[in-house]
């Protein structure tokens, strides 16, 4: 089943929705505004009735895999159950109906929630303050690096480099570059951990910070994190924590205690705010004392029960977005934390680690395990053992789709060839882990018996494997003016 585009179903003559009339004496825009201010050609929005629109989106929805219906072991993304009650909480008129420019006295509840959330996040990661402004993890990374560079500058210390491990997520180097740093890559050792020797060699007074996630993207805990911190701090650089993997050890240990100076958290991963098919999320950043002066404005302050927004922060890096953050997501994350409590969050991380190791065990004879366990909340396998059958990680992924599982993250981290990165999370039952393991066995067997079947997967989905190369070619010819089909949008045939 595929679905036409709304534009393809549109009919000129379709009647518009009933909408309120002005019911006041007033001019039409055309009576007031000069013709060069006025739009000449109406925008080509589709013209459909409400029943058609709802049918359209309902059918589109049914073409998605999602946590609600499928196991979604997308490594590094912590696709855990999104509590349905959190959607109810965020929709409370007392939250959803607030204008960001209401006077502080009329939003004390909202500010209190933000303040409590900040306290809770401080407790989980071991920092002193948290800004809730960043809209996502990458935004948080960049915000933290802005603070770090402001910190160094404030000490008359100009540092130009940021160290990033070769196993790091792409947003790390990108965020570093976007805040004006040169990115220097640090190699991983054979054990999948960062190579201290290489780190040593890259450290210098030019280095502003080392960006690290722990457990790293291989799902391995950086055993020598304390030595690393010492080395980094010794050169006057700061240690930055990419919180994408925080789900591994809530209540077990804390980045702050490891020596991290700045920490971003993905509320849309660890704290169950739904990912929405690509956002919105929230990427709060926690900092140690030295960085507090540089936090974005405003911060939420609480003095004997009364809450205020503090805009007067002379050393602040300023604003990283409008208003105060993705408030609706903050509400959901806070609801999750209150429901789970300290005891629940701790058990969640323990179960996440347990599930990852259990699943790793179930498939360790079927796929290559480039690194020794135990792993933390996720593990990275490799499909290289299927290479001589010509089967790649991509084929395994598509074959999983056919078996009603979403696919793990593949080809990341880059340090593992044919990487298959599996993060089960604590909210998948043993039964569902066993079913996934069984599917892997079946696929690996098929790789030997009938590899072509895997190249032809998926078969059970609305479309088969899509030719992205051809698509790229068509886009190029459009961008080079050799074609009028933008590929990146719909255009009426006649045009």
């Amino acid at each position: 089943m595929t679905e036409l585009l709304s534009f393809e179903k549109s009919r000129e003559a379709a009647s518009p929705p009933r909408l309120p009339e002005a019911d006041v004496e007033g001019p039409e825009s055309s009576q007031v505004l000069g013709s060069d201010l006025l739009r000449k050609k109406a925008p080509g929005l589709p013209q459909l009735s409400e029943p058609e629109i709802m049918r359209h989106y309902s059918r589109l929805a049914s073409m998605n895999y999602s946590i609600s219906e499928q196991f979604y072991p997308l490594g590094s993304c912590t696709m855990k159950y999104n509590p349905v009650v959190n959607e109810v909480v965020a929709a409370l008129p007392g939250f959803a109906g607030l204008h960001p420019y209401q006077d502080e006295d009329t939003v004390q509840g909202a500010l209190e929630l933000m303040w409590r959330l900040e306290q809770a996040l401080c407790a989980v990661v071991g920092v002193e303050r948290v800004t809730l402004q960043p809209a996502a993890g990458a935004h948080g990374e960049w915000t933290a690096l802005r603070m770090i560079s402001a910190y160094h500058r404030s000490r008359g210390d100009t540092r130009t480099e940021v160290l990033v491990p070769d196993s790091a997520h792409g947003t790390n180097p990108a965020s570093a570059a976007l805040s004006g740093f040169q990115v220097v890559e640090v190699k991983s050792g054979l054990d999948g951990r960062i190579s201290l020797a290489d780190l040593e060699s890259k450290l210098s007074p030019r280095v502003a910070a080392l960006m690290l996630t722990n457990p790293n993207t291989l799902g391995l805990f950086e055993r020598q994190i304390l030595d690393i911190a010492e080395m980094v701090h010794a050169t006057g650089a700061m240690l930055y924590y990419d919180g994408a993997n925080l789900n591994a050890f809530m209540g077990i240990c804390r980045p702050g205690d490891m020596g991290f100076d700045a920490v971003h958290m993905n509320l849309h991963k660890t704290f169950t705010t739904p990912h929405g098919g690509g956002g919105p999320g929230a990427g709060p950043v926690g900092v140690k004392a030295e960085l507090i002066p540089f936090l974005p404005t405003p911060t939420v302050e609480r003095t004997n029960g009364h809450l205020t927004l503090d805009f007067k922060r002379p050393q602040s890096i300023g604003r990283v977005r409008s208003f105060y953050g993705n408030f609706g997501m903050l509400v959901r994350a806070y609801a999750y934390i209150v429901a789970m409590g300290g005891d629940g969050l701790t058990q969640a991380s323990r179960d996440a680690v347990l599930s990852a190791n259990y699943l790793r065990k179930q498939v360790e004879d079927d796929l290559e395990m480039p690194h020794e366990g135990p792993c933390m909340h996720e593990f990275v396998a490799s499909a290289q053992n299927l290479a001589h059958e010509g089967v790649k990680a991509l084929d395994v992924a598509k074959a999983l789709l056919d078996r009603d599982f979403y696919a793990p993250t593949i080809y990341f981290p880059l340090v593992v060839p044919e990487a298959i990165m599996v993060e089960p999370t604590e909210t998948e039952s043993k039964a569902s882990l066993d079913a996934f393991a069984a599917a892997i066995k079946e696929i690996v067997a098929e790789a030997k018996s009938n590899p072509q079947a895997l190249h032809d997967a998926p078969q059970n989905l609305p479309v088969g494997r899509l030719d992205e190369v051809a698509a790229a070619r068509r886009i190029n010819s459009y961008l080079q003016g050799q074609s009028e089909d933008p590929v990146l949008r719909w255009k009426p045939a006649q045009k």
Binding site: N82, L98, H99, Y101, V124, R321, L488
Partner: protein
């Protein structure tokens, strides 16, 4: 515990099949010195108790009815069709991740493709992306595009661009070493002229002239636009702007104390490779069936790393979906009616307000759509007085612009019915 799945039995049997005694055997890599006893957080609550606790926080906020909300400044009260939430509340949409596996994500991908087309149509430009965080970061990303495209290091901000957008633009620019200059005259170093139409005060600018002067200086023209006004106003594409950006909150998203909302960005064909974030395009399978995929990812962080056009990864897809449903529900005629009704009511209101003793238009010779500045006596007192009457009054813009002492901006939309206008006037006259 809520949201946890394993029973003690499950845990035991899983540990057994792993072949370890206890959880500690799985945590061996974590130095003992780092272990904490427990989190300094209260224990969890039942759903019922959690709900009442958080509902009591919500109850400590004051919610003004839409019809009595005359405050805008970048976030507006508008009628949101029930269809919007009915779509965005579908778990198949809201519990999916970024569509890395296209065959199992056609719903999200097609929806984004439709969003890109809707924004391109609305702004009359060639291509739009899958969404950005908000209007402010959209302005900043556009500036980065211009900076890279022109390899120039200055952007000129003309007129009353939303003050928070300017702050965000500065924060972004600092990182890249770009100078942000207020003014109207682009120079040889100018990468782009950025203006807002209508501007933060609601005033209309001469977008055409600004665009031409930018181009004359070899700079790009970046228009920050109000999406609903585009049903009436000339879109960036019609006056030749290179990049259009804006905040999509009005397209079906609740105020929600400022977020999550959605930023949009579109541009001319020549600039598409500079676009930040996700782009969805069409592709075909072996049987020739059309499908949708993430396209041009070579621009992005996961491939390009430090050389990426932007660091954005997670964007605001679900908000973009809401906007798509809204725009599709409205269609061109509906969107136009919403804009015209707002226009008419705002102009009717402006006239009635101007008749109040001591009140006058702050910029009598400037045009507006549905938000406008008035110069009033005792601005703060006026706002407080209205609040006492249950009305969310205008914004005192002096907070950002010292020169605008006593100036407040009112907003009117299709939700402020004529009785609401009467109530406002009555409250002011009282």
């Amino acid at each position: 515990m809520p949201y946890l799945v394993h029973s003690e039995e499950d845990r035991a049997s899983m540990l057994a099949s792993i072949g370890v005694q206890s959880m500690d055997d799985l945590l061996v890599d974590i130095p003992q010195s780092l272990r904490i006893g427990a989190l300094e957080l209260p224990d969890g609550l039942s759903e019922h108790e959690m709900m009442s606790q958080i509902a009591s926080l919500a109850a400590r906020n004051r919610v003004f009815p839409d019809r009595l909300t005359f405050r805008g400044g970048g976030v507006y009260s508008r009628f949101i069709p029930a269809a919007v939430a009915a779509v965005t509340s579908k778990p198949e949409f809201y519990t999916a991740y970024t569509p890395y596996q296209p065959e199992a994500s056609q719903g999200t991908l097609q929806a984004i493709f439709e969003f890109q087309t809707l924004i391109a149509e609305l702004t009359a430009l060639d291509v739009a992306n899958a969404s950005l965080y908000d209007g402010a970061t959209a302005v900043a990303e556009a500036a980065m595009m211009a900076h890279i495209h022109t390899s120039r290091n200055e952007v000129v901000v003309s007129g009353y661009l939303h003050p928070e957008y300017v702050e965000v633009l500065r924060a972004f620019s600092e990182g890249r070493g770009i100078k942000v200059r207020k003014g109207t005259e682009p120079g040889p170093k100018t990468a782009a002229v950025i203006f807002q139409q209508p501007d933060f005060l609601g005033l209309l600018v001469d977008a055409k002239a600004l665009t031409e002067s930018a181009h004359a200086a070899g700079a790009l023209a970046i228009a920050c636009v109000d999406p609903i006004s585009l049903a009436i106003l000339a879109p960036p594409g019609e006056y030749g702007a290179d990049i259009a950006v804006g905040e999509g909150q009005q397209l079906g998203l609740s105020p929600s104390y400022g977020g999550p909302h959605v930023g949009f960005i579109s541009c001319r064909r020549e600039l598409v490779r500079r676009l930040p974030g996700r782009l969805v395009g069409t592709a075909h399978d072996k049987q020739g069936r059309r499908g949708f995929v993430l396209a041009l990812s070579a621009r992005e962080q996961h491939i390009r790393r430090e050389k990426a056009t932007s660091n954005i990864c997670t964007n605001h897809s679900l908000c973009a979906l809401a906007a798509s449903v809204y725009m599709t529900y409205m269609g061109p005629k509906g969107l136009r009616q919403v804009a015209e009704v707002s226009f008419k009511r705002a102009h009717a209101l402006a006239q009635r307000l101007a008749a109040l003793p001591g009140w006058e238009p702050a910029f009598p010779d400037r045009q507006f759509v549905n938000e406008f500045p008035m110069r009033v006596p005792k601005a703060s007192a006026v706002v407080r007085k209205l609040a006492r009457k249950g009305i969310l009054g205008p914004i005192e813009v002096q907070r950002w612009f010292r020169e605008l002492k006593g100036v407040v901006t009112f907003t009117c939309t299709e939700v402020n019915d004529s009785r609401a206008l009467d109530e406002l006037l009555a409250a002011l006259e009282a």
